[in-house]
C-alpha cells in the first residue's frame, strides 16, 4: 500500500456527491475521487484523515459499505473548527482525503460466532461498515444483535436504516435513549442495561464496541459479568491524531499508537491501559 518514497501527508481531492442530515449537528457525506478514479478499498473500522482546504485535518471513521468502496461515506458531527467546516460542505465541493488507516474490526475472524455490536452515539459510524459486512454474509454467523444507545431520540443517527434492520428477522436490534420526551415509545436506559436482553453464547461470541469512554467501561464490565471472554471483546479507541501514520506521537495510549495499532483493540491486550486514568 504505502509507497515508501512518496509524501504520506498528501491529501487526495474528493468531490462531495451528497450531504444528508442525521441530527441537528451531524451529517453524512458521500464522496468520490475528484480525478474520477476508483477510490480505494477499506475494511470496517478503518478511518481517513479528512482535510478542508486551509482549515485543517481530522480523523473520521469510514461509515459506508466496504463492499461498495467506489463511494466513500463519512458521518461527521460538528464540534469544532474542522468538523464544522466539513459539515458545511455542499454538493460539488472538494475535500482532501488520505487513508484508509488503522486496524479494522475482526469481522474476518467472526464466522461461526454470535456477534454482538454495541454502539453509543456517533460510535455507530465506525460500526456501520461492520454491520454491512456481517449482513452481506449473514449465514456465516450465529446470532447477530445490535445494541444502540443515544442521549435522546434527536441524537440518533441512521434512523431509517435502524428501522430497516429492525424489520429483519435475522438481526435483533435494540435501540435505547438515555432520556426522552413523552412521545418516544421506545426504550429508555443506558446501553449496559440492555446486554441482559441480548441472546448469545458467551463461549462463542465476538463483541464489537464503540462509544463514549464511560459507556464502554460499564459495557465491558457487564459483558465480563455475563461470562464473555476478554479476548473476544473489541473496542475502538479515540485519541488526538495529527498524522495517522504512527509518526506524530499524539495518539499514544500507553505502548500503543491508536492510529496504527488501533483504533480497534482486543480488550485483553488493552485492559491495563483502558482501566487506568489519564493514559
Amino acid at each position: 500500500m504505502p509507497d515508501s518514497l512518496a509524501e504520506p501527508m498528501l491529501p487526495v481531492p474528493y468531490r462531495v456527491l451528497k450531504v444528508g442530515r442525521e441530527t441537528a449537528d451531524t451529517f453524512t457525506l458521500a464522496l468520490a475521487a475528484a480525478a474520477g478514479d476508483q477510490g480505494f478499498s477499506f475494511a470496517p473500522g478503518q478511518f481517513n484523515m479528512l482535510y478542508v482546504f486551509g482549515v485543517g485535518e481530522v480523523p473520521i471513521s469510514i461509515s459506508g459499505d466496504p463492499d461498495r468502496p467506489e463511494t466513500l461515506v463519512h458521518t461527521v458531527r460538528a464540534v469544532g473548527a474542522v468538523s464544522r467546516a466539513i459539515c458545511g460542505l455542499q454538493k460539488g465541493d472538494t475535500l482532501g482525503v488520505r487513508g484508509p488507516y488503522g486496524v479494522p474490526w475482526p469481522v474476518e475472524a467472526a464466522p461461526g460466532y454470535d456477534v454482538l455490536v454495541i454502539a453509543g452515539g456517533l460510535g455507530l459510524a465506525p460500526l456501520r461498515p461492520a454491520v454491512y459486512h456481517l449482513l452481506a454474509r449473514r449465514p456465516q454467523y450465529g446470532n447477530l444483535e445490535l445494541i444502540y444507545g443515544a442521549r435522546t431520540p434527536e441524537d440518533m443517527v441512521y434512523r431509517q436504516e435502524l428501522e430497516r434492520w429492525r424489520g429483519r428477522f435475522d438481526f435483533r436490534v435494540h435501540v435505547t435513549v438515555d432520556s426522552a420526551r413523552g412521545d418516544w415509545r421506545g426504550n429508555v436506559g443506558v446501553v449496559p442495561n440492555f446486554i441482559a436482553r441480548a441472546r448469545f453464547d458467551p463461549e462463542q461470541t465476538m463483541v464489537l464496541i464503540c462509544g463514549p469512554g464511560v459507556m464502554m467501561r460499564f459495557t465491558v464490565q457487564e459483558l465480563l459479568h455475563r461470562g464473555l471472554k476478554r479476548e473476544n471483546i473489541y473496542l475502538s479507541m479515540e485519541r488526538n491524531m495529527k498524522c495517522g501514520l504512527g509518526l506524530c506521537g499524539h495518539c499514544q495510549l500507553g505502548p500503543f499508537f491508536v492510529c496504527k495499532d488501533g483504533p480497534v483493540f482486543r480488550y485483553d491486550l488493552l485492559q491495563d491501559w483502558f482501566l487506568a486514568r489519564e493514559v
Binding site: M9, C248, G254
Partner: protein
C-alpha cells in the same frame, strides 16, 4: 582496495592538521559541514566553514539545571560534551513545510513537496548522539509509514564521530550502553589524544565512505601504544561519568509504578515547559499546522515539533486526556524508559543528560528512576513489619 589503505575498522593516526584536511575534502564533495560552535555562552551545533570554527580549547561544565563554558588549558578540538540542541534539528528540522496547495474554483491542487537537497556532514558526534540517531531511524524509517524528508537527509549525511575524552557530568551513557565509545553508526570516528607535547587523532573508519576519506589525508598505521592510550582515555571517561541509571527490569519497574504517588512530587516541581523534550535527541513528537494566505486560495501544511507536556497535546473534543501535570510527566518518563521498548524495541533514552542540564528546575531523570526504586523498597520494608 589499494595497498596500505585502512580497512573498515582499522585504526590510523592523523596529525592535528589532518582534521582541517578532512573537512576540506568533505566540503569539496558537496557536504555542508555542521558541528559544535559557541553562541551566547552556549555550545550549539551550527554551520562550520573550517576546523578553526570549532571551539578549540573550550570545555563545558554541566550540572542539573546549569550549563557553563570553561576555558581549557589544553588546545583540544573536542574538549566538551554534548551541545544544547542535538543533531535531530538537522535530520528532523523543528519546522518544515510538507506541501502547498492552490484553490481554483471548487477544486484544489496539491503541489509536490519541496525537494530536500541538503547534504550534511556532522562533525564531532558523540556516542550517545549516534545511538539517538539510530533510535530516530527506528521511528522514521521502519514503517509502516516512513518520513521521506528524514530519509532524504539521513541517507546523505556523513557522520564524523568523536570518542569522549571528557566525562559528562549529567550524562549516563555507560548505563544505557550508548557510550562513551562510539561503536556503530558513523562513517569515521576520531579519538583525540593529548599526551604531553604529543597531540594526535586516532581515526577509524566505520564505512567505505569513511575509509575513502581517510585514505585521502596523510596518515600512519596506529601503533599499539597509541591504541592503548585511547582505551585508557575511554576507561577513564567511563569511570568519571557524573550520572548512572540502573536499567535492570526498567520497563517492568515503570509499569508497576504507574500509579505511584511519587509522580505527584515530581509534578509539583515540573513547570511543564517542555525543554526536556526539545533538547532530547530522540523525542520525535510533532504537530501539523494547516494555514492559508489572506485570499484563502493558497494553503500550506507545516510540521512542527510538539511537546507532550502541553494540555493541548492530548486534546479531544470536551477536554484533554492528560489534564494534570502529573499525568504528563508520567507520560514522558514512561515513554522514554518503558513504552518506547514496546513500540520500537529499544529504550527512548540514550543517557545524553541534556534533559537534566536544560531543565530549569533541575529535574533529573536518573534521580526520578531512583526515587521509584526506593519507594518500592520502602513499601516492601513496611509490608514486612
Amino acid at each position: 582496495m589499494s595497498p596500505g589503505s585502512a580497512d573498515i575498522g582499522e585504526e590510523v593516526v592523523l596529525e592535528p592538521q589532518g582534521l582541517q584536511q578532512l573537512l576540506e575534502i568533505l566540503q569539496r564533495q558537496g557536504y555542508q559541514l555542521v558541528g559544535p560552535t559557541l553562541r551566547q555562552g552556549s555550545l550549539v551545533y551550527g554551520p562550520l566553514s573550517a576546523a578553526t570554527d570549532l571551539p578549540r580549547g573550550w570545555g563545558d561544565a554541566q550540572e542539573a539545571g546549569a550549563f557553563r563554558l570553561r576555558k581549557l588549558r589544553e588546545p583540544m578540538f573536542f574538549g566538551y560534551g554534548v551541545g544544547q540542541q542535538s543533531w535531530k534539528q538537522f535530520l528532523y528540522p523543528h519546522r518544515r513545510r510538507l506541501w502547498q496547495a492552490r484553490l481554483e474554483g471548487n477544486d484544489f491542487q496539491v503541489l509536490p513537496p519541496d525537494a530536500d537537497p541538503v547534504k550534511f556532514a556532522f562533525i564531532g558526534v558523540h556516542a550517545c548522539d549516534l545511538e539517538a540517531i539510530l533510535v530516530q531511524d527506528k521511528v522514521f524509517l521502519e514503517g509502516p509509514f516512513i518520513d521521506p524528508h528524514y530519509r532524504a537527509r539521513r541517507e546523505q549525511a556523513f557522520i564524523l564521530a568523536v570518542n569522549c575524552g571528557h566525562p559528562c557530568h549529567t550524562g549516563f551513557c555507560a548505563s544505557m550502553g550508548s557510550g562513551p565509545r562510539a561503536t556503530r553508526g558513523f562513517d569515521l570516528v576520531l579519538t583525540e589524544i593529548l599526551q604531553g607535547p604529543r597531540h594526535y587523532l586516532l581515526a577509524a573508519p566505520g564505512t567505505e565512505r569513511g575509509r575513502q576519506l581517510i585514505h585521502q589525508v596523510p596518515h600512519q598505521k596506529a601503533q599499539p601504544g597509541e591504541r592503548e592510550a585511547a582505551d585508557q582515555l575511554l576507561d577513564q571517561t567511563t569511570r568519571q561519568l557524573g550520572r548512572s541509571l540502573d536499567t535492570r527490569d526498567l520497563k517492568a519497574l515503570l509499569y508497576r509504578n504507574y500509579e505511584n504517588p511519587g509522580w505527584d512530587q515530581v509534578a509539583a516541581r515540573c513547570l511543564s515547559c517542555g525543554n526536556c523534550t526539545l533538547v532530547c535527541p530522540t523525542c520525535f513528537c510533532h504537530t501539523i499546522e494547516d494555514t492559508t494566505d489572506l485570499t484563502g486560495t493558497q494553503a500550506e501544511r507545516w510540521r512542527r515539533w510538539d511537546v507532550c507536556y502541553t494540555v493541548d497535546f492530548s486534546y479531544l473534543h470536551g477536554g484533554s486526556i492528560r489534564a494534570t501535570p502529573r499525568s504528563r510527566y508520567r507520560q514522558w518518563l514512561t515513554h522514554k524508559l518503558a513504552t518506547w521498548i514496546d513500540q520500537f524495541g529499544v529504550l527512548g533514552c540514550v543517557g545524553c543528560g541534556r534533559c537534566i542540564t536544560w531543565c530549569p528546575v533541575a529535574i533529573d531523570i536518573t534521580a526520578e528512576v531512583r526515587a521509584l526504586r526506593e519507594s518500592e523498597l520502602t513499601a516492601a520494608a513496611a509490608a514486612k513489619e
